[in-house]
């Protein structure tokens, strides 16, 4: 069973990221704060008897469900999932090839200079904007997999879908982000 200190430390470590995640989904600061608060309350009320190692997965699941509940309450769930394929078609354009990126710029890893990091920091707002535009399932998979650093199977469990779906969502999300950022003239 997690101690109060462990629970407090855990919530402190995830609260900001959880807020941002919710904000990307609902695009409403107050709603995002409410969702995070509800998720914290649910975790403490129902799962405080779980061990500290179980808390991250539980919290991700609760946060996802609470966000979904918010959309249900807003009666926009259908709208949320209706445009699921829009980005996929755009992202699968002929001009996109990751291998080309890789061979053309083998220097990607080497180019992480201070200047590059600074440029990235300036482009954060653009990245966030493009993340908000992703289809919900792609966005959720992308954030869970890469930002929350869950592995594929954990992401699948949190999203209630198959491992294959997670891989597809993540891949398409990255492609879509790459295309969008490139179109804006940013160095992805």
């Amino acid at each position: 069973m997690a101690t109060e200190q462990e629970l407090s430390d855990f919530l402190t470590s995830v609260e900001k990221r959880a807020f941002k995640r919710s904000l990307y989904h609902v695009r409403d600061e107050e709603a995002a704060l409410d969702i995070v608060q509800d998720s914290m309350m649910k975790l403490c009320e129902h799962y405080s008897n779980k061990s500290a190692t179980e808390l991250p997965m539980l919290f991700q699941r609760i946060l996802s469900n609470t966000t979904l509940d918010w959309f249900r309450r807003q009666k926009t769930k259908n709208a949320l999932f209706s445009n699921f394929n829009e980005f996929e078609n755009e992202a699968q354009g002929d001009d996109f090839d990751f291998l080309e990126i890789n061979t053309a710029s083998d220097s990607v890893a080497q180019s992480e200079s201070a200047e590059m990091v600074l440029t990235q920091a300036q482009n954060v707002a653009e990245i966030e904007e493009e993340i908000k535009k992703l289809p919900p399932r792609q966005r959720e998979a992308f954030l869970l997999r890469y930002w929350e650093e869950l592995d594929v199977s954990e992401t699948a469990a949190a999203m209630g879908c198959s491992v294959g779906s997670v891989k597809t969502h993540c891949s398409r999300a990255v492609q879509a982000l790459y295309s969008a950022l490139k179109a804006k003239g940013l160095h992805p």
Binding site: S48, N102, I127, F142
Partner: protein
């Protein structure tokens, strides 16, 4: 084919990790009111957990005259329940005993007083008391039938 797929995955991961680094950096620049609201939400949640813990630990058991709080979720058995009522029963029995003792004591005092009055000499002033004169005028058998 497999090599290409792996390579593609690596590049995707590399790109994604670079973008989320930017997102991590943005967490440090959250507005104060948002950070404060998150802090309050966290404290509320922890308060709720404290209440939950108190509720589960509120089972009071008395063992050998010592009251202890146990956190067990098990239902208390019959003997434990009876034991918890024991002090109340002792208190009630004590109160009833004191009441009976006081009643006996008062009755005994009144009986002694009556006995002393009846056995004592009648004072002359008693004949000036209208109530005593009235008592004397009533026949003795009528006095016995009166309630």
């Amino acid at each position: 084919m497999t090599t290409n797929f792996t390579l593609r995955n690596d590049v995707e991961t590399q790109l994604a990790m670079r973008w989320v680094q930017g997102l991590d950096a943005s967490l440090e620049t959250l507005p104060h009111h948002v950070s404060e609201r998150l802090r309050v939400a966290r404290l509320k949640a922890l308060d709720l957990q404290r209440v939950q813990l108190k509720q589960t630990a509120s089972h009071l058991s008395i063992n050998g005259g010592v009251a202890t709080i146990s956190g067990s979720d098990e239902e208390p058995n019959l003997w434990s329940r009876l034991a918890s009522y024991l002090p109340l029963l002792v208190l009630l029995a004590g109160l009833i005993g004191i009441q009976e003792f006081q009643n006996d004591s008062n009755a005994h005092k009144m009986a002694n007083l009556d006995q002393a009055l009846l056995l004592d000499d009648l004072p002359p002033d008693a004949y000036t008391d209208p109530g005593f004169l009235k008592f004397l005028s009533v026949p003795s058998d009528a006095g016995q039938t009166q309630p």
